[in-house]
């Protein structure tokens, strides 16, 4: 039995960065890449289920992206994924979360997992859309923001809690296979040991093309997307009034602010 974990290699901005000449993205040189924080938790959840299962479970990490995302997939292999799949084609460039979901759904169709996990959202663009769109394309039951999960591989249903706003949880039972988007804090992701990092480096990463998955260029990229980036620009941000000086001077001013507040409140 398989559990498929969809992961994303996210990008953070370097301190100084430049917007690309076409104005639609940041110059790639200024992007610092890493595995999405949420995906650490969804991978860990899959690995925990595998370790507790009576029968053999294969945890498969899948990522849509060019060769550079191998780094994140290797991280997944080091943390317990059994296989890693990377899908790329130049036509995928410019895809929105829905077009990416179409690729992930095609991978899910070919692997036929018992469960699919994705992160609630990605730390870079925070769409919170890819996992649930994947479920819709597959026609699978789905739930978002899962903060605890009770699931035995092969079971017809799973019970989980959705984390709602304001410190409220909602317990729900769902039919399987399902797509669940996993929230931070559902578990404590493990660190990869040096040994597992070394082993992961030697493992193959399976590369799939659009044709391998039965998709065409029109399914992805701008043609397969439900939105298009027109422009990216720096916001006019409110900026805090900086308290200058050394730590003692800064703390003195902060103490004054606290006293002013207390005086006003009294």
């Amino acid at each position: 039995m398989k559990i498929l974990v969809a992961v994303k290699q996210v990008a953070a901005l370097d301190e100084d960065f430049e917007i690309r000449a076409d104005g639609r993205d940041v110059e790639a040189d200024f992007l610092i890449r890493d595995l999405n924080e949420w995906d650490d938790f969804s991978l860990e959840e899959a690995v925990k289920i595998k370790e507790a299962a009576a029968e053999p479970i294969e945890v498969i990490a899948v990522c849509v992206g060019p060769e550079e995302v191998d780094e994140s997939l290797r991280k997944c292999l080091a943390k317990g994924a059994d296989r890693a799949i990377r899908v790329w084609d130049a036509a995928i460039e410019g895809s929105d979360p829905i077009a990416i979901a179409r690729v992930l759904a095609a991978v899910a169709k070919s692997e036929a997992p018992a469960m699919l996990f994705a992160g609630v959202q990605s730390s870079d663009h925070s769409f919170a859309s890819t996992g649930i769109a994947t479920a819709a394309i597959l026609g699978w039951p789905h739930a978002a923001v899962v903060s605890s999960l009770d699931y035995t591989p092969g079971a017809k249903s799973a019970v989980f809690r959705r984390e709602l706003e304001g410190g409220l949880l909602h317990e729900v039972e769902i039919q399987c296979p399902a797509v669940l988007t996993i929230q931070l804090g559902i578990n404590t992701p493990r660190y990869a040991s040096l040994r597992s990092i070394k082993q992961a480096a030697a493992k193959p990463i399976e590369v799939r093309s659009l044709a391998d998955l039965g998709l065409s260029a029109g399914d992805v990229g701008e043609a397969g997307s439900l939105s298009r980036v027109r422009r990216m620009y720096l916001p006019d941000k409110g900026r805090a009034q900086l308290i200058e000086g050394d730590a003692a001077q800064q703390a003195k001013r902060l103490a004054d602010i606290i006293r002013e507040f207390k005086g006003a409140a009294a």
Binding site: A136, A144, T181, L226, F261
Partner: protein, 318 residues
């Protein structure tokens, strides 16, 4: 394709306030003859009619469904049918935990133009343009929806002010097709307080974030908060790590600092989810070693420096 369809949210018998913000947001999209309709889905939607009789609403649509609370299959089926009947140009939902569970599915199934966490909408040369944040909110991203006759937008909360004036919109009932649901809601669970602190009532909060680095440092800040007379709060990573109880977490999935007037954030980077719980506070002081941290974007005062040094120096004054 014309008009705006708003999907309002209720939870456990209460209309969620963000629903009303959508009504204000819709007004800027009106063109001549456009109507703004608000739909509400639950077992007894008529209970919410009076609360939705607000300026800017032309029609209230009650959608009676079998699920009392949010259910993805029910929502996708009913709202999908409503869109097919009404052909709105824009569908507005809140960017909320409920919409996380169905909006993307609805958009993917119906081929709707789609964007989430939108905080600005406008028409540029007649085309609908939505603005959202990118790269951890460091840039603004404008998106459009070429060729899409209906666009579904999930709007960020606390951006648009809810309408106050009352009105007398027409009321209609929409007969949603019966939908088979593949999930079954069981119960709501309130996070137990863990300690008897009510963050929503605290007027002065000293909050700690990832910047404190290790659990052993929590005690120092707890002592500092006590000394200055503040309630100790935290951002998500601290609660997730179990260093402070979940009841101390400020933010979207934690508590909103509703009564807070002075908020000192130490080592909190300012993720959008944390800001949702505190950015309204009049006086925010951010202390962070990273001058680029997002928290400085909402703070009134900023101290770029080592939080431990500042904490130590501050302690001397109390």
């Amino acid at each position: 394709m014309s008009g705006v369809l708003i999907v309002a949210e209720q939870r456990r018998g209460e209309l969620r306030p963000v629903s009303l913000e959508l009504i204000s947001a819709a007004q800027g999209l009106r063109r001549a003859g456009d109507e703004v309709a608000v739909a509400l889905l639950t077992t007894a939607p008529e209970r919410y009619i009076d609360a939705l009789k607000l300026a800017g609403v032309d029609e209230i649509i009650t959608v009676k469904v079998r699920a009392a609370e949010f259910d993805p299959d029910t929502f996708e089926s009913a709202i999908g049918a409503l869109i097919a009947e009404r052909h709105p140009e824009v569908v507005l939902v809140a960017h909320s935990v409920d919409s996380f569970g169905y909006a993307a599915a609805l958009a993917a199934k119906l081929g709707l133009g789609f964007a989430t966490d939108v905080f600005k909408m406008e028409r540029i040369e007649g085309e609908l343009v939505a603005t959202r944040g990118g790269y951890g909110q460091k840039v603004n991203v404008e998106v459009d929806f070429p060729g899409r006759s209906t666009v579904l937008l999930a709007l960020r909360g606390n951006v648009f002010k809810p309408p106050e004036a009352a009105a007398s919109p027409k009321v209609s009932a929409f007969a949603a097709p019966a939908a088979a649901s593949r999930s079954m809601a069981r119960e709501f669970i309130e996070l137990s307080a863990g300690d008897d602190i009510d963050m929503t009532a605290a007027e002065f909060i000293l909050s700690i974030g990832r910047g404190i680095g290790e659990e052993a440092k929590v005690a120092q800040f707890r002592e500092l908060a006590d000394a200055v007379g503040a309630t100790l709060g935290c951002s998500r990573p601290i609660a997730d790590a179990g260093w402070l109880p979940k009841s101390r977490q400020v933010g979207q999935s934690g508590k909103t600092a509703s009564a807070c007037k002075l908020y000192i954030a130490m080592g909190v980077s300012g993720a959008i989810q944390h800001l949702a719980g505190m950015k309204h506070v009049t006086t925010i002081v951010a202390v962070n070693s990273d001058a680029e941290a997002s928290i400085f974007g909402v703070a009134k005062y900023g101290i770029v420096g080592d939080i431990f040094e500042i904490a130590e120096e501050l302690r001397r004054h109390f």
